[in-house]
Amino acid sequence: MTHHEINDLELAAMAATDAEAFGELYERHVRRIYNYIYYRTGNQQDAEDLTARVFQRALRHVPNFEDKGVPFSAWLYRIAHNLVANWHRDRSRRPVIPLEDHVAVSKVSHHPEAEAIVQEEQSMLLDAVRSLPDDRQQLLILKFVERLSNAEIGEIMGRTEGAIKSLYHRTLIALREEVRAKENRSASGDEEESS
């Protein structure tokens, strides 16, 4: 049986002594962990740095990994979540987010004006998402980037499906509030500049 045919939890048990088993786990999860960190930090350099740290930490602690009935990815996400929280704490100022890099590739249009509006919307939305509490950001990333169901998100976040549904509903309301606040701040900034 090759490593490809073995499930995550069995691989995790083997990974303490088998480098290839850990390599297979890495291949399966590196992209989703990178995506999670990328959207939490907003830039490629920090996403790469923190992704590397997540897997180095996972490698150190994989011999202590216990199957508690949650997916292996939940364990990785928890490590990523803690490292991102430390990263935010360590930074004295908010990160400079190269939103244009991401937004420019996500929407291709032949109408420059429409494209500019869409990019502006997306930039503002990403900014608003990053202003939300950690668990709400995680929920949105898992739902939209990873396209996971509420049940799967619940397993990763250690909550019930109903709790995730409710959290999602509150998150959309909070996101709209955040966008409104940002637009108001932006409008008052424009007025100050013109006067």
Binding site: A19, E20, F22, G23, Y26, E27, V30, R31, Y34, N35, Y38, Y39, Q44, A47, E48, T51, A52, F55, Q56, L59, H102, V103, S106, K107, I117, V118, E120, E121, Q122, M124, L125, L126, A128, V129, L140, I141, F144, V145, E146, L172, L175, R176, E177, V179, R180, E183, S186, A187, D190
Partner: protein
Amino acid sequence: MAAVKLEQLDNKDLERILAETLVPVEPRSRFVKRLKARLVYYHGGNLFSGWMVIVVVATIILVAVTIIRLFVRGLSSWGGLINNLSRRRRGSAEPTSISA
């Protein structure tokens, strides 16, 4: 920002924009490959067992001894060559009257 009125959107539209904005990004393949190599190499920490250290040290000593031997041999050959040349030079410089 006047054109952007996200707060007026209903949930469906907000979800649509979220789906268009929060799209999967692909990490650089070079980064993914390098990190894997680093992790697998690091994971192979048990390769640096006592035996591995002995093998590495023995190899280094062997290579060093070989290099020193070659160097000494080269040096002695060079010395012998110079010695021969100087002897020949001395031999040709001797006065012929003595032999006569």
